[in-house]
Amino acid sequence: MDTETVKKNANRTEEEIQEELIRRQKRKETITSILPVVGLVVLVVLFTVLTKGQFIGMDNLKLLVNQCFTMCVIVVGGAFLYSIGGLDMAIGAIMALSATVLTLAFNAGVPFVISFLIGVVVSVACMSVTAFIRNYLKVTPFIASLCMMNICQGLVLTAIASTGRIVFNYSQAAWVDDTVTKIITLVLLIFVGYVLFNYTSIGKSLKAIGGNATAARISGIKVEKMVFIAYAIVGITIAIGGLFTVVRSGVADNTLGTGLNLNVMTAIVLGGFPLTGGANAKFHAPLIGALTVTVLTNGLGLLGQANAMGYAIKGLLFIIVVASTYEKSKGKLIS
């Protein structure tokens, strides 16, 4: 604190100082919540102008739904996980494993819904293992997720070893890839997630754990149980994402889920969601981030720019947003 500020504060009452601190905090929160939305709006307007309206044409809007769907589904669950600061690198691999098992079951004649539920069980089980390692073996969840990622990749490679890929019976489930189905699914998921996150004890407890796990425990929150619930929720959304992805791609192979981890993290960050979680975690933030990532990729593609530029811009934005919003007082970025 500089000399002028010290002199200034010396003449003010404690209440005035407190009020100013609260005003600053509110201003910061406002900027953090508004800026991603403003950024998204700016991008949409910019691309609309540059593509002479093609960006907001019906054909391209359908493409946007298809391209952002999987990420939006997963970040709905990701909001719960990241609210406790749970950086996870296994999301893509678990999605691949879930989709592979689901495909094997469906191709073997198991009814569609049961096959999907089997995929959910696989996904939730994998995330539960990470939660268990975090809770009881006290291993950093980032490291635990790296191990789970390797395990899942190995299982997928084993499952597809004989053919290199497993073709999904698309003709028997083509309705899943319909735009209307996706919109309905996404709206429902967002509604359920929003209610759970903001209006139930689950969301409040998770944010408290993200803020300070010790304080949360002392105040009566069953931390381990809540962590399991967070991982289970994201496991469910991963399975849903896996189902739609394998239907869209037509095969289950080891490239499924590639790049998903980074895209989810980028979406979380670009939306203004704190990577360390806590009280400032807003449910809508990852969704805004997911849309931003998709709009950026889609818009640059329409302008004929190399895909590589999209990666470069996303990486740059990621660094800038993290650097400008990371709470240094909390210490480590990755817990």
Partner: protein, 407 residues
């Protein structure tokens, strides 16, 4: 707080500036790879070719997605397609992929359709939904049989936008495996090992059959083998357990991991190594010179010209070739290379500005340019290009040299 405000403003400015700088996308498309001298622009046909209604043939936009041009094979693909585009007055729209995940393939195709491509060369793509989308959008496509699954067949068979699938299992892979193995056997190997992708991979299985047949036909013994995806580990295992027994190794591998493993084991002087896919664009010549590599293949870029012409025929309304479901098209193969001169020739006269086929070879496949030949004759011609009698360096190099005016 001030610092954060400044950073936020800088962020917004950067986004605006970087996107505003995007602007026009003209100028970069079809410019060729980094090492493309761009000195051999083919001559356009002297007369304008028109269809039955008097419309000028050409001017179409063909989409292509693959790795960036920094990849050697990608650069060769770019040059081959630029050549085809120039002689037919067309334009290629390139989309660079970072990975070949299904999601990225979907995004690539959707983006190319959005930018107005009339046809797309499908190097990859097993999603039935993708072909449904192209059918709906009226975009033509030509792919490879690796993508032609039963589910895809249900969508593409009977579609007017389906321009066919190059048949990768038409014997070429078997021949490649056979030729590479035979080459190292003729160079003196009698006890060989082989490495290939896991059983069940159609391409790998065909090449392994080729390895085994070459060994049987030439009196060599197969001592051991590895089937899997980790060639570095597989090679290390083979060399540590049977390295002193074998004098030849063939692999359906990519990169130079196996060469590195042989060097690490100190066996590069005692083992003749053949790799179906060339290790790298820049080092293969040296590997061939130093003996680290005894045989490899080249000429595996020209098939994109076939795919281009299938699309061009369909979009221009010309006679279509191999137009009966399933639309399987014989594929121009690779050929064996055993020394650095052959490698350099392959890079220059097949992977260079001219893709091994001269303009008259390519335009002979289109009925607007060559109205005096029948569909059957054109199909025979394309099939002829795929035979080892035509498609070998001894035949290709003089023809391309003559076209380029070189002695």
């Amino acid at each position: 707080m001030k610092m954060r405000k400044i950073l936020c403003i800088v962020l917004a400015l950067m986004m605006v500036l970087s996107l505003a700088a995007c602007g026009s996308k003209d100028g970069d498309e079809g410019s060729g790879g980094e090492d493309d001298p761009g000195t051999n622009t083919p001559e356009l046909p002297s007369e304008t070719v028109t269809d039955d209604e008097g419309n000028e043939v050409g001017g179409y936009k063909i989409g292509f997605f693959y790795l960036p041009e920094s990849d050697g094979l990608s650069a060769q693909f770019h040059r081959a397609l630029d050549f085809c585009a120039q002689i037919t007055n067309c334009e290629i729209e390139y989309y660079d992929m970072m990975t070949f995940s299904a999601e990225e393939v979907n995004t690539a195709v959707e983006t190319l359709v959005s930018t107005g491509c009339d046809g797309i060369i499908m190097i990859s793509g097993t999603a039935p939904s993708l072909y449904e989308y192209m059918n709906e959008q009226g975009v033509y496509y030509c792919g490879l049989t690796r993508s032609y699954t039963d589910e895809v067949a249900m969508v593409v068979d009977g579609s007017e936008y389906n321009c066919g699938f190059l048949d990768e299992s038409s014997g070429n892979n078997y021949e490649l495996g056979y030729m590479v193995a035979e080459s190292i056997i003729k160079q003196g190997a009698t006890k060989i090992a082989y490495m290939a992708a896991a059983t069940g991979s159609e391409i790998a299985d065909e090449r392994v059959r080729g390895f085994e047949a070459a060994a049987a036909d030439n009196g060599a013994e197969i001592v051991t083998s590895y089937r899997g995806s980790d060639y570095a580990t597989g090679a290390a295992d083979i060399l540590s357990t049977r390295g002193t027994e074998i004098d030849g190794l063939v692999a359906d591998a990519t990169g130079d991991a196996v060469i590195a493993a042989i060097n690490s084991a100190g066996l590069s002087d005692s083992i003749l190594y053949g790799q179906v896919n060339a290790p790298s664009a820049s080092d293969t010549s040296e590997y061939l010179d130093t003996g680290h590599l005894a045989a490899t293949t080249g000429g595996n870029n020209t098939y994109v010209c076939q795919m281009f012409m299938q699309l061009f025929n369909a979009i221009s309304g010309a006679d279509r070739l191999f137009d009966t479901d399933p639309k399987l098209i014989p594929m121009i193969p690779s050929f064996v290379i055993t020394n650095s001169q052959e490698w350099d020739d392959a890079n220059t006269y097949v992977g260079g500005d001219v893709p091994g086929l001269i303009p008259e070879d390519i335009l002979a496949l289109n009925s607007w340019y060559t109205p005096d030949t029948t569909v059957e004759e054109k199909e025979e011609l394309m099939t002829k290009y795929t035979t080892s009698e035509f498609w070998n360096l001894e035949n290709i190099v003089p023809r391309v040299k003559e076209y380029l005016g070189e002695e």
